[in-house]
Symmetry: D2
Subunit: 152 residues, 4 copies
């Protein structure tokens, strides 16, 4: 049982639809692996196209999936006709992002009327082992009466 009760029962479809419209996630090769009330996970398989200068995942790739995971974790708890914006985030890179894939987990810490705060974690999976390689905090804004599918 989740501590978070999403006001929109179709939250998962809404998240998946919105994620599908993020050109960057497709470019990176990222996909949604969990969509739950207040929690979203995104998986990113390794490719040389995602690296920094030493062949590890670039911090920008790590941050991009962390930002989307947190943004959509918040979005699961938003009303149906709203949009989500990232106001800011901070991320600490704890260990080399090395492995077959990264898994970013965004989790809502506090969901308010306007601001939602998420915890961000990114794990590197290599040979069956999982290492926490980044941890972050994110502040989201809920834009009410601005459906996510509306053209900007």
């Amino acid at each position: 049982m989740s501590p978070h009760a999403p006001p929109d029962p179709d939250f998962a479809a809404r998240v998946r639809d919105s994620f599908g419209r993020q050109g960057l996630m497709a470019t990176l090769g990222a996909s949604l692996s969990r969509v739950e009330p207040g929690l979203v996970a995104i998986v990113l398989p390794f490719r040389p196209e995602l690296t920094q200068q030493h062949g590890l995942f670039h911090a920008g790739a790590t941050s991009a999936i962390a930002d989307s995971a947190g943004g959509y974790a918040g979005f699961t708890l938003f009303p149906a006709d709203s949009s989500v914006l990232t106001a800011e985030f901070k991320i600490n890179l704890l260990a080399p992002a090395r492995g077959e894939r990264l898994v970013a987990v965004g989790e809502v810490v506090r969901s308010g009327r306007t601001l939602t705060i998420c915890d961000l974690k990114v794990y590197a999976e290599a040979g069956g082992a999982r290492t926490l390689c980044a941890t972050g905090l994110q502040t989201l804004v809920c834009l009410r009466d601005r459906p996510d599918t509306q053209t900007r």
Copy 2:
């Protein structure tokens, strides 16, 4: 005249070589536009492959070029046989990242023996106008006696 005196006269070649090995920057379509002592700028032209759900630049793309710009700004002031790691960064998204291109500028605020702090700014250029769309702070680690070209 710069307040920063790079210990390695070949700093620009070292930065350009390292940037060329970042798979992610090529995937995004980013390129270096300025490499100066303590300052690096990166340009990212708009493509639908870089968007979030509303067709604007994804915060992950904004962050990725900001992180690289800051990292290489610090790297211009590092010794020849060192590497650079991002320890952490924080970024505030100030305005919609809309336009023909983004320009990320990383600038060294303080360069110490181990830690270097950079200021990050990202501008959106649209129809000749330039808007500050993100501002951030970044902490870098200088790894001495670990040449950037060494295999990890």
Copy 3:
């Protein structure tokens, strides 16, 4: 000439009155030194009561005046019947906070309807010299129709 036009002509009196009600600022011995549209500076003279374990200013003292400087910088641009809350801030401690006094300067980077972003700088003044000892970023919330003097 300021780029910021405060909607409330009495912004300075409103800031000074509110600052006077902050018990912590009196406890620390801090005072307002500048109150301008979008910019507030706070001075904190050195006392052993403000130190960390090595006799320098404690990062908590540095942060406290930086937070108040930024909060009131934002507040100068808010409507008369509003309140200000800090949603979050991040601060990098760049150099030892050593000297006769600290001066914190908060400056508005972007003032929006709900969120305001401020740049934070703290300088240590010692023997006539001024050193930048901390730099930060802060996100403020404007609570409309909630006068600052209202009891909570």
Copy 4:
């Protein structure tokens, strides 16, 4: 059983001695409540001398005890002849800091040779109930061969 093994068996005495030399903690009225390998908690009873303009705990007081709790959490895992410095921290204020006392908990997420990353949480206790009022992340530097008691 703790996942962290402190290299100095006298870590708790070292932390308590150092905390006792922090003038600011005495000024605020803060005291240590837990000193464990990789975890330190600090309690701060409410006083009007610690408030912001609405009579709640000032974010500066919340941040000051969070910074000390994290700093000393890291310090528990440092060698005997080292010192600790805060490089940076970020804190989100989640809920009004209202109550009889605040409890800040700093916990080590990753302890490296040079950098240590801590998770920061601050709880407000009111009438027997405990509310998470702030969450943060902190980067510490371990200065080796620089005993904490050495004059600077």
